[in-house]
């Protein structure tokens, strides 16, 4: 059986999610043994043309050129996996969706006319069919490995959609919200990171995006009781997954209150 071919693509992003592949130090060579890395510019100058069995797509759609490139990638890919918060919800750069893009350009660039950009930063699935999404800013490299392994044997990868709290309890961390009164987004955030923030004595700030059934209003009411000001809550929801529907909807309501 021929090895499945893999291509890695990048849109607006920090490169961290694709770096996760190279961060699999112990498994990288085995991965390279099992799959044919056909296009991965961050790692190799070798390049083989499509079609590809699997494409990993990092980053969000932010420029006019992106709009056509993502269509081309979709057309050459058997399975398209969107990796990371940028690719699955638009990432932190989707904060522009709430602002005036011209002003954003002016703030950063001396000659705005040189800059070609869209007014919004959007997820890959807003443009083409996505077969699988890996949440996280950044993704968890072991989830990426799980996807590769599952792919190779043809099973559904095990990717949790429940809340960070489950991982928090699994590792035996005491709840920072209950024990320390620290505002934590864990109860409405998707597991996957291993609940590292509470383990480091801070509240989760939501980098894996909304969990499968997030009750944002209930948590917001509790944050009120903890003394968190509403603008602070709004910003907490508007960070790495600002454009995720549940966070966007709730934060828009709170911002208007």
């Amino acid at each position: 059986m021929a090895k499945p071919s893999l291509a890695v693509w990048k849109f607006a992003s920090c490169d961290g999610c694709q770096l996760s592949l190279l961060d699999l130090e112990d498994e990288l060579l085995a991965v390279a043994d099992g799959i044919d890395i056909a296009h991965f510019p961050e790692a190799t100058t070798a390049h083989r043309g499509g079609p590809y069995d699997v494409s990993l797509v990092e980053g969000s759609i932010t420029t006019p050129a992106d709009l056509t490139r993502i269509q081309e990638i979709r057309a050459q890919s058997g399975m398209l996996v969107a990796i990371g918060a940028c690719a699955t919800t638009g990432g932190i750069q989707a904060l522009r969706n709430l602002a005036d893009i011209d002003e954003f350009v002016r703030v950063v660039y001396a000659r705005p006319a040189y800059i070609q950009t869209l007014a919004t930063s959007t997820a890959i699935a807003d443009h083409v069919k996505v077969d699988l999404e890996l949440a996280g800013c950044p993704i968890n490299k072991y989830q990426l490995l799980e996807v590769v392994q599952a792919l190779l044997v043809g099973r559904k990868p095990t990717l949790p959609t429940y809340s960070v709290c489950v991982e928090c309890k699994e590792r035996g961390t005491s709840c920072v919200m209950v024990a320390d009164g620290v505002a934590c987004l864990g109860p409405i955030t998707r597991a996957g990171c291993g609940a590292i923030c509470p383990a480091f004595a801070r509240g989760c700030y939501g980098c894996f995006g909304p969990s499968e059934s997030p009750n944002v209003d209930s948590l917001a009411a509790w944050w009120d009781e903890l003394g968190v000001a509403r603008p602070d809550l709004v910003r907490a929801l508007r960070t790495f997954n600002v454009n995720a529907p549940q966070f966007k909807e709730a934060s828009t309501r709170y911002a208007q209150e």
Binding site: K10, L29, E42, A46, Y109, Y114, I196, T239
Partner: protein, 433 residues
Amino acid sequence: MHKNDTRRSFNVTELTRVEGEGALDVIVEGDEIIELKFRIFESPRFFEALLRGRRFDEVTDITARICGICPVAYQTSSANAIEDALGIQVGEPIRDLRRMLYFGEWIESHGLHVYLLHAPDFLGYHGGVELAQDSPDLVKRGLRLKRVGNRLMEVIGGREIHPINPRVGGFWKAIAKRDLDEMVPDLEWALEAALATVDWVSGFSYPDLEPDYEFVALHDPDEYAIIGGRIRSNRGIDIPVHEWGDVFEEDHIEWSNALVARIKGRGSYHVGPLARFNLNFEQLHPLARASAERHGLTPPVLNPFKTIMVRSVEMVHAAATCLDLIGRYESLGAPYAEAPLRESVGYGASEAPRGLLYHRYALDEEGLVTDAQIVPPTSQNQLQIEADLRQLLSGILDLDDDTIQHQLEQSIRNYDPCISCATHFLTLNLERR
């Protein structure tokens, strides 16, 4: 035969083995280089704009996301700047922990670059994975080095990409001495491996190229500067970080989504391992210095291709220094320092794996950011990269196109440019339109 062609062009449409997206356009007429553009077409993400209105304590988490390869650099420079703004003083134990975390990033980043991205150029491979087919043990050594760096970031920072533990004033959680002690065997191995790496890369053959650089780096008389210091150059610059804007400026060029930085009135300059090495050789760990001297590597080193040697020496320095720091580490009392909010401006810099990273923030009295400026190493090197390319190209125009293309690319990789961070620069003069 190429010699007499009237017009040739080389388009490296997609640069590989660099982080992010860049391209290079060159037009040559006869022996004359008509046009040479190092283009960065990475999509702009507008960090300086989106930071406005965020609270001071969110900045380290947000700026980390500028670059997945060197998040600690962004976290450190921005924490420095905000601590400067608020007048927060951090104690020695927090500084030590910060350095160890940062060294973790150096080892990870240098390990990745040396073994998987850069060495293949010298050995004729497409990349590290291809190299591994012939020399699995070598690549495994590189991966394990990288892993030690990552492990250090995980232990201190919570995870290797976008660590969650660093914050303004220090860390969320104090790291227990025993957790660091557990790193000792790994670091001892890494020290040996880094020494072996210096030996290995010293055997490569290096093209002759010795441009006349102005090197700029942080300098600290007591340590090989990484988390702070004064900005120095080999041509007389010696300023505190907050004077960056007096000496340097940023400009927006048409063909790039990155702003480029230059020394006012002088032009291009060079930041990164080579600059650090040449300016701070005396402060290197004795083991690192000895390993460099053993291979005749002493300042001034001007050959940009030799940065691979310098990176390897810096890995020796990082591992050896971490072992020393762990030896003297005592668990922190309070993991972070605080200070009352005030309307203020703060400046911060640190030495990212790729060179000087400068941040400036203005805060209002509620601690919200009103203005931000971030100048990453790649934008500071961009003009220098173009200058290097011109010089290199004029000397090799009689070679065939493929070789020229390869050498140009390799020359860019000397800088290990991290293009994804290079697109977030803000000009000093906000009024310019």
